[in-house]
Amino acid sequence: MSEMQSGTPNPLKKYFRQPKIYIPLPSKGNFYPQGALDKTENGQYPVYPMTARDEIMMKTPDALVNGETTVQVIQSCMPNIKDAWKIPVIDLDVILIAIRLATYGETMDIELETPVTKEKKSYELNLSGMLDQLSTVNYNNQVQIDEFKVFIKPLTYQEFTKTTLKTYEEQKIFKTLNNINLSEEEKLVTFNDSFKKLTDLAIVTLEHSILRIETDEFSVTDQNHIKEFVDNSDKDFFKKVLNHIEAEKDKFTIQPLKVESTKEEIEAGVPASYEIPITFDQSNFFV
């Protein structure tokens, strides 16, 4: 192509693709630090299909685990996102579904197991419907607790990845504890240490999620002051903020698939209708 005429690779090559769809972000572009998102006038962001290079990236095991693949592919397919590590997690599912849709089309097959009979079935999911559902949800970033107005923010993809990896490491220690050659006392020490680390992780996650605390008299944004306050606040305060964060997170969860059973299945003991949670994994999401 172009290289054959000039003899040098064309630096504009990555711009050859055309956007396939435009999507609004659930965060509405909020919570991105400066320089992480090139905001558009109308709040609609172009999504390009994955290239062969992106597809290969998506199949690199190590990069998949540490989150590097997701970051590289998002930045390739949504060029308005300049630093994908800083994406608020409430945008993540919408972005990945949009990239999947732009690359392979509107539908996606998933394999499910029928309850009771354990028969495997294939269902076709409509990704456009999912995008519509998730794009219209509003994130409520305020919660009033007694005299405090607490402003929260969703975790960034970077914070989320770090937390998930650390949680995994500690859970792995729990699992292997019974199999290694340690005295009961040593096991207990290791268990307590690991349990403390997990608790600390939950507190750090909460601290990262608080943006600002206001009262009638002052407004605190200093992260050290917020950390000190969280460390010294009572359990109820901690719990109320955590509940609010969880409730907001749940709003961005994909609704489970409602399945109606056939006459034969009902006769075999399968409930007339049942719900199956939709989970995306590597084997079905980026085919």
Binding site: M1, E3, M4, P9, K13, K14, F16, R17, Y48, P49, M50, T51, A52, R53, E55, I56, K59, T60, P61, L64, V65, G67, T103, Y104, T161, T164, Y168, T279, D281, Q282
Partner: protein, 75 residues
């Protein structure tokens, strides 16, 4: 990330599957380069989308069919 919760043997199996899928993608890209008779480089192919490659494959299939029908030399 979900792959981490799998048993070690299963993780190795998944990694091998992914490796094979990568090889398959590269094989398809190289085949298309060959069939396009030098008009597309491997570098160009790496930036094509899935849809672009489907269209190219269709062109290749049509050309093979035409070659068969007309009896023209293919190689």
């Amino acid at each position: 990330m979900r792959v981490l919760s799998l048993p070690y043997e299963q993780i190795l199996k998944e990694a091998k599957n992914l490796d094979n899928e990568v090889k398959q993608i590269k094989l398809n890209l190289l085949k298309l380069c060959w069939h396009m008779r030098g008009s597309v480089t491997m570098d160009d192919m790496f930036v094509t989308s899935h849809e672009d490659r489907e269209i190219m494959s269709k062109i290749v299939e049509d050309n093979i069919e035409t070659t068969k029908k007309t009896g023209l030399p293919f190689f």
